[in-house]
């Protein structure tokens, strides 16, 4: 039964990511790439969750994996990587808990609002942390490759 449940989560997560890829106006030939990104994100998240990791850690790791994937395909297909990142992390996005937080604040249930709010913040921080790590690594790598390029040019000038 739990296998079926995992399968359901992964299939629906992938469908959701593919759907949002279309709503975000990604080119049709790039939509499958984004959908697989969503699949990877959901799978990592689900298995981390099964393993017992907390919300922050599982979202952090899922984001990192899917950001690496997105960067590889962004280089291959010559598209900005944000295109694939945005669509792939859709299944991780804390839409449900953000909604529960706000509705509990409106209904005056402080305890539930605090729990859901904490969840939302954990997930959002996990996703943001993953993307920050990516931009750090990419900028360092860019700087290294640029330094190599200028060195090559200087050598050629000599």
């Amino acid at each position: 039964m739990w296998m079926l449940n995992i399968l359901k989560l992964i299939v629906t997560g992938t469908l959701g990511a593919a759907g949002f890829a279309v709503l975000f106006g990604i080119k049709l030939k790039h939509v499958p790439v984004a959908a697989v990104g969503g699949l990877i994100a959901t799978a990592v998240y689900v298995f981390m969750d099964l393993w017992g990791a907390n919300l922050f850690l599982s979202n952090f790791l899922a984001t990192i994996v899917c950001v690496i994937y997105a960067n590889i395909f962004a280089r291959v297909l010559k598209t900005p990587s944000i295109v694939f990142i945005t669509a792939s992390i859709i299944p991780l996005v804390p839409g449900g808990s953000l909604f529960y937080t706000m509705s509990n604040i409106i209904l005056g249930d402080g305890l539930a609002a605090k729990t859901y709010g904490l969840n939302t913040l954990q997930v959002a921080l996990g996703i943001a942390g993953g993307i920050v790590i990516e931009s750090l690594v990419v900028s360092v790598m860019l700087r290294i490759s640029q330094a190599k390029l200028t060195k090559k040019r200087l050598d050629a000038d000599k």
């Binding site: 997560g13 469908l15 992390i89 909604f99 943001a128 942390g129 993307i131």
Partner: protein, 266 residues
Amino acid sequence: MSDNISSAEIYPNEKFSDKLLRTALDIAENLLRSGGTVHAAEDTVDRICKAHGANHVEVFSITSVIIASIRMEDGEYAMQTRRIYGFSNNFTKLDSLNSISRDLCAKKISLDEAQNRILKAKNENTYSTTVRILVSMIISGAFALFFGGTFLDAVAAAVLGMLIMVISSFAPKALNQLAMNLVLSTIAGFCAIFFTKIGFGDNYDKIIIGTIMLVIPGLSFGTSIRDLLCGDTLSGMLQLIQSVLLAAIIAFGYTIALFCLGAWIV
């Protein structure tokens, strides 16, 4: 308005620095409008101007405004600002703007050519309304299942997702975004409770969660925190407040439905 800024012919005696900055800002403005990051917009202006002979470039951008000034090698000086009213994710446009800026930096195309390509990219249409409506049905159905609803919930959520997309695609564009979302979520809330009452759906909250993924700013909540961590504090804060407010408004809309029909459901 900024719609006619992009036509190259209307400024016959324009200085080169002004023209350069105008082109760079056209690209940056459209990047922000189609869902690009603040960092990418600033970077684009900086690279394009430096590649075309600007000695000194200063750019500051938040999600709703870009301020930029450049000084050329001969001392010519130009400064322009742009105001951005809202954005909607359009990654095809983002992609072509990116390639225009790359070509411009590599000096493969002239400024006039870039202007023409920006105009073309602006009018690039993506998927038709019918496709978007169908896709939003799939999304809301999938997320109703994802968050633990039954199959019947998914079907009900798909119907509501269609309703939300139809209303928001045919609504007047000038309407306040918060008011629009309040109306949408109230209607969806009433329908979700009504559907479960007549037996079309098992748990109304799962139906609501499925349809809510279409409108809730969960993504901009995440990106705003990313901006905060990356050092774009101001735009991060703006986006954070906007997304929290929008989430509150959406929750409020559903709560109205719960208050009105809550006694009826149990």
